[in-house]
């Protein structure tokens, strides 16, 4: 931060994240909610806004939206739908059915892994638009195009818009917020949350001010298509605003477009030409009043959330709760598996490392029986195999979807050699290269490598590097 804005200045950021829900069908009709199909094949009278078509709310979309609300510690309340009126060719009815003054979820929060709490103002249901492709012109972009083609497959796909409070103070916090939110959405099965496919989309409201003074005028940044781009866009925008203020200018409230290739934002539209949406209650729908029983059932079925799973895994393995191993395993959903290795009598700390290194391609519930991994961790702990040998055995177990590690080690000739045998190899090494031994005794750490290498070669790799080092250090005294 310090290099971004000078001392005494502060970045203020709030995020609006749109996520497409993982339903089978659309928010208000029965055509499929499916990405990547042939254009205009997932369409029905409601999706196309045909005259006479009427919306009917998808129960599963409500359920997933409630899951999101509960996972973000929101209050679920009776709610209504409004029409947001504006013209755009990919908006079939010329209004979007959304939630306005009475959204489903309000007043929640999300805790970043570092412990910072970001408020969640609301998380409401609304429908997605279709997709426009701009044809012709030099750049293939909207400006200078000759015409546009519209595909309505995405129109009517259920969205939840999650609006944070302006509690974010750094671009890193913004990135953490989005990746933690994404982890939550995946864990609760609400969305596949793929930013690259647009099933998770992020707008950032950014302003800067001198600490202690009121917030500055904010700009909304759109078209941020990755977590990395989000950080860059926020930093660019904060610096742009600071530079304007410092050179005596003022910030106009406007919507700006992030151009990832150019690494800058530019004006999309100013507040003055913002549309008048003429919100009013959607007369074709009735209020949604989730009863206590429904809310309780959704709450009961909510799986353990990533933060709780990370701390459970960290506690069990002794690893750093903010470390990469813990977060990677929880993201893959393999934390239950790691813990099951412990239940099978294995060493969970070693299991954490094994799974992180060798199970990247495995599903959340890997094919390998946890007892096989448990057995291998015990063999390594008891020095029946070296860590290098353990890695080889592990790779074979994963390839075969399981296997007895002892048998595999034996087949590979990995039977343990005892310390006295290693002592013999050490004697041979010192005798073979007294020069290296002398240097080692004089404190030249580099010389140890040569000695260890000779022992490993003589033992055909069966000696445990750690044991060799320990013997050498002991001999030197």
């Amino acid at each position: 931060m310090s290099e971004l804005l000078p001392e005494g200045w502060e970045l203020i950021c709030g995020l609006e994240v749109h996520v497409e829900l993982a339903t089978k069908t659309k928010l208000f009709s029965g055509s499929p909610n499916r990405f990547g199909d042939e254009p205009n094949t997932n369409i029905d009278p409601v999706t196309l806004g045909l005259p006479g078509a009427l919306p009917v709310l998808n129960e599963q979309a409500v359920e997933l939206a409630m899951r999101i609300g509960l996972a973000l510690n929101c209050t679920i309340q009776p709610c209504t739908f409004h029409r947001k009126n504006y013209f755009y060719p990919d908006m079939p009815k010329a209004y979007q059915i959304s939630q306005y003054d009475q959204p489903l979820n309000i007043d929640g929060h999300l805790d970043l892994p570092g412990g910072v709490r970001i408020g969640v103002e609301r998380a409401h249901l609304e429908e997605d638009t279709g997709k426009s492709t701009h044809i012709g012109g030099a750049t293939g972009r909207i400006h200078g195009s000759e015409f546009s083609l519209i595909d309505f497959n995405r129109a009517g796909v259920p969205l939840v818009e999650i609006v944070s409070r302006p509690d974010i103070r750094t671009s890193e916090q913004a990135r953490q917020y989005v990746s933690e939110l994404r982890a939550i959405l995946l864990a609760i099965g609400a969305s596949d949350a793929k930013m690259e496919e647009g099933s998770m989309r992020c707008d950032a409201n950014v302003s800067v001010h001198r600490v202690g003074e009121p917030f500055g005028t904010r700009c909304e940044i759109k078209n941020v298509n990755s977590i990395r781009a989000l950080g860059r866009a926020i930093e660019y925008e904060a610096r742009r605003q600071y530079d304007i203020i410092e050179s005596g200018g003022t910030i106009r409230q406007e919507t700006r477009h992030w151009d990832d290739a150019e690494g800058r934002t530019h004006t999309l539209r100013t507040k003055e030409d913002a549309d008048d949406y003429r919100y009013f209650l959607e007369p074709d729908l009735v209020p949604l009043v989730p009863g206590d029983e429904w809310i309780a059932r959704v709450r009961t079925n909510l799986p353990m959330l990533p933060a709780a799973r990370r701390s459970r895994l960290a506690t069990a393995t002794g690893a750093d709760v903010q470390g990469e191993a813990v977060s990677v395993i929880v993201e893959r959903g393999q934390d239950d598996y790691v813990l099951s290795v412990g239940e099978a009598g294995g060493d969970v700390a070693r299991a954490l490392v094994y799974v992180q290194q060798a199970f990247a391609e495995e599903p959340p519930t890997p094919r390998v029986p946890s007892k096989d991994i448990a057995a291998l961790t015990v063999m390594e702990r008891d020095s029946k195999v070296t860590s290098t040998q353990a890695k080889t055995v592990l790779a074979e177990i994963v390839t075969n979807g399981g296997g007895d590690p002892a048998a595999i080690a034996a087949a590979k000739g990995f039977e343990a050699i005892d310390t006295s045998e290693v002592e013999g190899f050490v004697d041979q090494a010192i005798a073979a290269d007294p020069d290296a031994w002398q240097k080692f005794c004089n404190g030249e750490q580099k010389a140890m490598g040569a000695l260890v290498g000779m022992v490993m070669k003589a033992s055909k790799g069966k000696a445990d590097g750690k044991v060799v080092t320990a013997i050498l250090n002991a001999r030197r005294g």
Partner: protein, 478 residues
Amino acid sequence: MANIPTTAAAIADAVRAKEMSATEVVEHHLGVIAQRDGDINAFNLVTADIARDAAKRVDAAIASGADVGVLAGVPIAIKDNMCTRGVPTTCSSNMLAGWKPPYDATVITTLNAAGAVMVGKTNLDEFAMGSSTENSAFGPTRNPLDTSRVPGGSSGGSAAAVAAGFAPVSLGSDTGGSIRQPAALCGVVGVKPTYGLVSRYGLVAFASSLDQIGPFATTVDDAALITEVIAGHDPKDSTSIPRPVPSLRAAAREGVQGMRIGRVTDLPEGAEPEVAARLDEAFAALEKAGARIVDVTLPSLSYALTAYYLIAPAEASSNLARYDGVRYGLRASAADTNAMYGATRAAGFGDEVKRRIMLGTYALSAGYYDAYYGKALKVRRLIADDFERAYAQADVVLMPTSPMVAFPFGDKVDDPMSMYLCDIYTIPTNLAGHPAMSVPFGTGAHGLPVGVQVLAPALGEVAMFRVGGALEAAGGAR
């Protein structure tokens, strides 16, 4: 050829009893249409081939002993704002001229299953906005009782079709009186059911919180029959009421013994003297039939017109925004999409539709919402509360349907406010979401028919049909 009965009930009975074929019935009606619709212009489209095919299917089903439904072989005319698969549905607008919906409205599916035979799509005020059927891109419909006069509107084509004998029954839609007022002006029965009783799925929306489909018929029994068929829960319409439909035909024969009939003592003035006189006679007839007349007040009724002409245009401005030249219907050519929108909508919509879109856009726009739309919703509540108090004392309320009998063409079309006043007695029911029906009851100026309106609380169709049946039986002198 057999003598074709004039009512839907008698036709269905005769066809089911194999006394005549559905084909004979439909040929008779197509003949009457061919003879006279050139003068009346009730239809935007006569679906003769489709009708003949449907009649053949009914006849084949009867021959094979299959169940053909309660409307077997009954010709029916459909207001041209209900979607019919593969058959043009225009809303009498250039915007949708030639548009063929890829799906059927729920009422169409239901009627087909009941064995009804659609003979055509009827004319209306463009997008159902009007009270005279003069605002049609396909020319006005003339009143069959006096072709120099309007049939009322917006369902003028459906009312005229029944009055002219083109079909024994038809469907209209009623947002502020669009079934009841033309029924009164054409001397037929018209029913606006409780909001939510009949599915709106496939009805091209004008004002979603007010629109309701209902029948026209020559008898109260036929109106009850059609209402029974088209009413019922539809999972495709979120505002559809999940309740079984009671027997309305039985109610229509039950009489009014012991019923309490509300007379509104503070009714907004403006009815022609003959209209007021027929209403008094209706009260007298019901009293004679065993009902009791009770006085009720509806003090907020005088604000209903104001609330309606803010709420309906506001919803319409949003409902009609989808006509943008992108996916279906008219497109005017222009250099860019925004220009295309403005040009398409200017070319596709008539003046009354534009007026209401402007009014509604204004009422919803930033800074005006609270003063107009927000206030209108509160007035709507006042009116509903008034009715609730009235229905604590009375089972139904009686009032005129239209303040005047059928008026000559051009009388009001350039003075929106005087046209809007046609709906002064019909609008309150739409705001409350209640049912109401218009029953012909004698004549007024120029010997033209007068309708008496029976209003009932939500889901009060049984009481409404009891009174409607009694009024018909008492028979105002025609």
